[in-house]
């Protein structure tokens, strides 16, 4: 299935929203308006848009601590998502989850996860549900290069393949697990690991929306056919630290400037679609500005959003002692 003009507009809009969202969270976190700690996915938007556009409503997604872009690309409400990051009671989880546990089951989002390696098994479970339901739904597990080293991830590979479940494992490798480079921490390759469990694996350029999207589309087609799981290794990079405030002394001098200049997935997308005469620069600029404005509006609203109160502390529990 080829992407039509509307799809391309949607892809760019999604990437633009995700980028502005992260820039806004960076700025406001730095100014002390957002509690806790946040892990930003700026630079990785092609993964969010490319993967989610290959999925549909019946599908499930378990994502990582770096999941804002995935939430946006999955169509979660922008305001409720922003409010959740601020810990407001109007947040999608009532302010009880926050950045690291934001979820929207109505959109098939099984949540960001604070536990590295937890997503694989959750997606296996969602795959079991999809198979039992018989709706040809697909479950996607995101994990990073860090999560790729957890034993739980390997257990999930094995379970998904012995049961031929509709699961797609996506290793979104941004080069660092916290401060530890994947070149140091990962033995062998992600694709070899997939082969080790008897499933197909493919490595793709995470700066290229089209490469990510095509690889995901192929994997989705395969798993919907009932051929069992597969793995996609997306090589990408983040513009910020592991968390906001990380001094990133482990990164090379000029590394991020180089990424922003030469490897920016929004720029690369623009060059491709404008070069091919599919969309105009003006159209793309307009979308970029529209999304900037939408995120700014959501940010301001989040600043004024209602805060959770004492009454909220002990709801959604059983047994009060």
């Amino acid at each position: 299935m080829q992407l039509n003009r509307d799809d391309l507009l949607k892809a760019y809009r999604t990437m633009a929203t995700a980028r502005h969202f992260e820039e806004s969270v960076f700025e406001n976190f730095s100014e002390g308006r957002i509690p806790g700690f946040v892990h930003l996915s700026a630079g990785q938007e092609a993964t969010a848009a490319g993967v989610m556009m290959a999925l549909d409503e019946r599908d499930w997604v378990a994502t990582t601590h770096r999941g804002h872009g995935h939430c946006i690309a999955r169509g979660m409400d922008l305001q409720e998502t922003m409010d959740e990051i601020y810990g407001a009671s109007s947040g999608i989880c009532g302010g009880k989850g926050g950045s690291m546990h934001i979820a929207d089951l109505d959109k098939g989002m099984l949540g960001a996860n604070g536990i590295i390696g937890a997503t694989g098994p959750l997606a296996v479970g969602a795959g079991l549900s999809a198979k039992a339901k018989g709706d040809n739904g697909v479950a996607v597990a995101f994990f990073g290069d860090g999560g790729s080293n957890q034993g739980l991830t390997f257990e999930a590979f094995n379970l998904a393949n012995i049961w031929k479940l509709p699961v797609i494992f996506i290793c979104e490798d941004n080069g660092y697990a916290e401060a530890t480079p994947s070149s140091y921490s990962v033995a062998g390759t992600q694709v070899d690991r997939a082969y080790g469990f008897g499933m197909p694996g493919v490595e793709v350029d995470g700066f290229d929306f089209f490469a990510v999207h095509e690889a995901t589309r192929d994997a989705v087609e395969r798993v919907r056919r009932g051929d069992g799981p597969s793995l996609i290794h997306i090589k990408t990079a983040r513009y910020y630290g592991h968390f906001v405030g990380d001094a990133q002394t482990y990164r090379a001098e000029g590394e991020i400037d180089m990424l922003r200049a030469d490897k920016d997935c929004l720029k690369i997308f623009r060059e491709k679609v404008v070069g091919a005469g599919l969309l105009s620069r003006e159209q793309l600029d307009e979308i970029f500005e529209e999304e900037k404005e939408r995120v700014e509006k959501a940010t301001l609203a989040a600043h004024a959003a209602p805060r959770a109160t004492k009454d909220d502390l002990m709801t959604d529990v059983y047994g009060v002692y």
Binding site: K96, G97, D106, P121, V124, A126, L159, G319
Partner: protein, 334 residues
Amino acid sequence: MPKKSYRNAINEAMAGEMRRDSSVILMGEDVSGGTGAPGEDDAWGGVLGVTKGLYSEFGASRVLDTPISEGGFVGAAAGAAITGLRPIVEVMFVDFLGVCLDGIYNQAGKFRYMFGGKAETPLVVRTMYGAGLRAASQHSQTLYSIFAHVPGVKVVVPSNPYDAKGLLIQAIRDNDPVVFFEHKMMYDDEGDVPDESYTIPFGEANVLRDGEDVTIVAIGKMVHLANKAAENLAKDGISCTVIDLRTLSPLDEETILEEVETTGRLVVVDESHPRCSVAADVSSIVAEKAFKSLKAGIGKVTAPHCPVPFSPELEDLYIPKIADVEAAVRRTMA
């Protein structure tokens, strides 16, 4: 009423619920016991035969033999539970939960609260606990207090076949994660168990015996020690109330406090270690909320604070005995 074993009562609860609700699935190591092997239809049904016959009735799509990867399949069960299935997961021995706690306490146990009340996680983790099988340190522990500590996880410890069936049906129908503890030495215990389906609500302790002098609170297999001790003590004119907690989370504080207010004395019997145990927890609740009713220091009967030993002589010393309960009761009367 027909007599059935604890094992059969548990099997019957699962079979009945699987017939009633197609979203109930069972998974675990050897729950079929030989899927893919030549004799799969007549295979084990679990190492101690608790799931026998379910595979032949419900097939491989609903009774899933798992590889030995508890972390993976418990996490998968959590994922299945929030996406529409009602998985029963058998983790063969509670000791093995050491490699799969994340799925229970960080995932399943957190979803409801962390997602703002929008998630339901109808997951049951069935697991064997307890000493007595000469199974030594890594197959004999009584680890329910770890789970009772975590809000969001319900903890059930049936002491007899009737309760095992009713509490397990309740657990399967419950929309929160439940860890269901089965004592490995009780599978052959027999008791009255109706053929039909019934539930026992969580958070309601069972007062087995009404007394005036001492309240004995017991859990699981220890309930039988408490009962026996109470019988023996009655001969000496010491009258005991015996409470079977049945569920540790939610905990029926009200019944404990009411009974202690009547008797003024408390002995808690728990097969677990003394530190940070349910025995310690119940004692602290009573000390805090019924202090003025107490006529004596609280007695605790627990296993010692050491791993479960292998040597039969040592294991026998390790396991709490009826005489220990009697002695503890007498101390509160002294």
